[in-house]
């Protein structure tokens, strides 16, 4: 990392997912006067545009709180910025690139995620840009390991919840991911991928599920009429899922002791909605909450089974489904701990959704 490289600026890494485009941008802060003079106008304008704003258009957002200051990357010092916008706004992004003559910079645009393949020709035709396509899981793992290694000051990158089964005493605590292997990496985007990672270069995709963040938002939109993830989460935080779900105690009056099932456990997600009266008595907030709980618990179940099958005790959850979603994180922490009787530990990372993009950036600087 310390070795200086001659890669021309700008340094970008991109991850084009099913729902969101994640962009990381390295802003050099050690530009010499000489460099400044040589720097073409186009490059300056891009740098200024990206670093002076926190919102781009109607939907682009720079996650300022995630920004990494004074990072030394490839012999250069600067800040790493984290930007996201919806995949459906990609045409506007390309238009911006075209207007700012991005293509004249002759840079390689490293991109991962399915969109790198799907939109490759759009990049070429609309913005005259050539994409360097990268595998998303390679990038993801590279990004996770890198970010965890460079974050030293400020809030810890990796954290967990202490006392996950006691809501009153449940607190977020830093965790050192020093000797991480083997670990189960669960990436919750629109869908979910579960990877067993044995070393930086040795991993396998164990399984995946289509019940992911996209399902939560998709169902919430249909059930409540909302249209954004933030809205859906806000509603979920106000709702009560037990009015929607049928619990063990709703069926057995209490715990189902014969099978060690506690009364509070969900027996049937949305099970109460089989009844017309109950359908009429629930609120949109209740439905949003039940959707969130259903999707989250299901990811928890599948993850737990994978951990058992692969004999791995540490699980790292990443992906944008967890962004500002403490509810789901605590649920996952609870589920891992409770159903494994304390055997499994759920870990989370602050830059939850950006690791693919970081991995893509690293690929630009250090081709593997």
């Amino acid at each position: 990392v310390g070795v200086k490289c001659n890669i021309a600026f700008p340094w970008f890494g991109m991850d084009i997912g099913g729902t969101l485009v994640k962009l990381v941008y390295f802003e050099p802060k050690d530009i010499t006067a000489e460099e400044e003079q040589e720097e073409v106008e186009n490059l300056k304008s891009i740098r200024r545009y990206l670093t002076s704003n926190t919102a781009y258009g109607k939907t682009g957002i720079r996650d300022v709180h995630l920004q990494l200051q004074d990072l030394t990357l490839c012999g250069r010092t600067g800040n790493l910025h984290f930007i996201r916008f919806p995949t459906h706004d990609l045409p506007a992004f390309l238009q911006m690139g075209r207007n700012k003559h991005f293509s004249s910079l002759h840079t390689t645009l490293c991109a991962t995620g399915g969109g790198a393949y799907k939109f490759e020709s759009d990049f070429r035709t609309m913005a005259d840009l050539q994409l360097h396509k990268l595998d998303e899981l390679d990038c993801l793992i590279r990004g996770v390991l890198y970010i965890d290694s460079v974050v030293s000051s400020g809030p810890s990158e990796c954290y967990y919840f202490e006392n996950p089964t006691e809501p009153d005493r449940c607190v977020q605590k830093p965790y050192t991911l020093e000797n991480p292997y083997p670990l189960l990496l669960v990436n919750i985007g629109s869908g979910v991928s579960i990877l067993a990672v044995y070393s930086e270069n040795n991993y396998k995709r164990v399984t995946g599920t289509s019940l992911g963040g996209g399902t939560f938002l998709g169902l919430c939109c249909l059930l409540t009429g909302c249209s954004t993830f933030e809205e859906a989460l806000e509603m979920a935080s106000l709702g009560e899922s037990t009015r929607v779900d049928k619990l063990v105690r709703d069926i057995y009056g209490g715990d189902y002791e014969r099978f060690g099932l506690p009364g509070w456990a969900v027996a049937s997600s949305f099970g109460n909605m089989m009844s017309k009266e109950k359908r009429e008595s629930v609120s949109k907030e209740d439905l949003a909450r039940a959707t969130l709980v259903t999707i989250t618990n299901n990811i928890g179940s599948i993850t737990r089974m994978c951990a058992l099958n692969e004999n791995i005790e540490r699980v790292v959850f990443v992906g944008n489904f967890l962004r500002v979603n403490t509810l789901s994180m605590k649920l996952l922490a609870y589920a891992m701990d409770y159903w494994s009787k304390g055997q499994l530990k759920a870990l989370f990372l602050r830059h939850e959704g950006y690791f693919g993009a970081v991995g893509a950036l690293l690929e630009l600087l250090h081709p593997s």
Partner: protein, 790 residues
Amino acid sequence: MAECSGIDSNPSSHTMDKSITLPPDEIFRNLENAKRFAIDIGGSLTKLAYYSTVQHKVAKVRSFDHTAKEAASDKLYEISVQEEVTARLHFIKFENAYIETCLDFIKDHLVNTETKVIKATGGGAHKFKELIERKLGLKVDKEDEMTCLIKGCNFVLKNIPHEAFVYAKHADSEFRFQTTNPDIFPYLLVNIGSGVSIVKVEAEDKFERIGGSSIGGGTFWGLGALLTKTKRFDELLQLASKGQHTNVDMLVKDIYGGSYGCLGLTGDLIASSFGKSATADKEFSKEDMAKSLLHMISNDIGQLACLYAKLHNLSRVYFGGFFIRGHPVTMHTITYSINFFTKGEVQALFLRHEGYLGAIGAFLKGAEEDNPNQYSWGENYAGSSGLMSVSPDMNPMQRARSGTFDMLEMDRLERQLVNLPLLQDPSSYIPDTVDLTEDALAREYWLYCFEEALDGVVKRAVASQPDMLEAALRAEKFRQKYRHKLQTLRHQPFAYGSLTVRSLLDTREHCLNEFNFPDPYSKIKQRENDVALKYYQKAVKSLEELSWEERQFALVRGVLAGNVFDWGAKAVSDVLESDPEFGFEEAKRQLEDCVVFLSERPWLVDSYNQWLERMKGPPHKCALFFVDNSGVDIILGVMPFVRELLSRGTEVVLASNSGPALNDVTNGELQILTERIAAMDPVIQAGLRDDRLMLVQSGSSSPCLDLSRLDKVLAMVVRERQTDLVIIEGMGRAIHTNYYAMLSCESLKMAVIKNSWLADRLGGKLFSVVFKYEVPAGKPSQDCETSTPS
């Protein structure tokens, strides 16, 4: 994340005509003698179980007293019809809307019972507790749902052949039935009620709920109702079957533009369920949303089931619960999911009687003192409705039929049935040669054949009871019932498991018994036996005059010629029937014309030379001979052959049917015949005396032979005597069944193909001969080991 297969609220109960659409006495049969009730009340269906006794007529034979033999009659033995009481289990499934009507009916007809309690299970049991107690005056005794489910599951897996099946929507036959593996444990049962329970079953009373999921049938129903404003579960399934999930789901290709090649994820794979509906400004059709939901839930359950199967190293996974129950749509999506997640290593298995498991289990709980598990039970085809009899989404045109009743009846078999210990691989043994479920052409032919033969069977049935005036009426009822069965099978060939010639024959026997025609051929058999016996000594004498080698051939030819006398074969019965006076000589002459080419070798299948070589070697230790017809076949064909085996030092076990079927010789008849032969023939007499000739019953009452369901005593004898040769004779036992059966010892299958269609199929002509002598691979025949010819 728990199970609840019952739904306490019942959104599906809709107003319905409360009158029973079938005459209830045809549904709740044998109620007069019913004892021991159990009931399983689910979210929409009630399953009632009871044990009853059935009185029906059986044919018995009794030898005339020998001391007065000349005086009594010129007949060999006397035939009598006796009343016999057997045990039967009745299971009836109906919609909850009928509960009250049904309880009233039961109360009115329940006369002889001393029963005080009714075992109950299912989520709806407590809701109807008061009603049941008030109506029937029985105390409701609740049993744990899961325990009942597992008990029921074990019971059907053990007792009903072709219980489990694989569902393949686009195959020639949607249902591929599994052969009965004698070892049913361990297995995984995934019960999809409103939630999902995953249970590992290791032994009869050893099971454990190893996991589950809250995303189950209730999620499909509840979420589906919210999304589509459709209330009923089966309407939701209907919607789903018409929808396009790709309009709602985000596929891999929606993200990648194509497939995600390096992970082997195809473009059509769902990346994110409902991923496309994450927008406020687009409308989605009910059908598409329902389909997407169905995929989401089925895939999720399939995935979890696979993860649990893998963790516990189980390959047999059965699916049940109301989400699955007879719905091709859900069976298809679950099957798809399992195939996807295990890459075909685990098959999703479904059960024909899945809906009855709880009721069966609850009943068994209540009957523990009678220890029903010590008996073998058999599905009664005459009294059972068969798979899909009332399935709502099989055919939407039949929706009105979901108001009718589905029945399962099981007879307690007199004997406990087990595998023939000499099967090479019991788990892969399939008795039947042709699966008519998969072979449409063959199905067409045989259904036609049985329909054609029906008049003749009815006539024969009436003629067998000349003294009974109402016989014609009963025979007519038999005709209607069997014809109805044939019609059902034409449309639903999978109704009773794989459709085979054997099952068609067995169904006919069950229907005949149902209407008290226990043995329509008893008198014919008697006459034939009588006549054939007169020729016995002459036949033996002429054989003894032959050289050893000539004799060996004559013996085989004798068995084959004798086997031509078969009332079950149309080509033969026409000749036999043509002479009302039963001119035996004339018929024999005509048939012999047909079998001239018995001498013309090579036969269609001909390993006679190998057999002859083997006969030159050391004698077998013990031969098990599955015999076929009465009369010429057994007396002039089989007995001389047996005599030869005995003479060369081989013990012989003659296995014959326990109960009558067509003109097959029954164990009762064979006892008498053998005694009479022994009186004429010192070799047979010595064999009986020295216990070197033994008569045992097969445990079957079928013209065919299922080597995986044989009398336990027979299996024991086979083992004790170190049987090293199995001889199977006749078309039913050696061609329709067991033609491909692999045994662990030497085997000889002999038959004359008395059906031109079948002969054609096998590449031969009418009356072609099959003589199949086989030595199991890797086992050198004994003449190679010890090469001293006698």
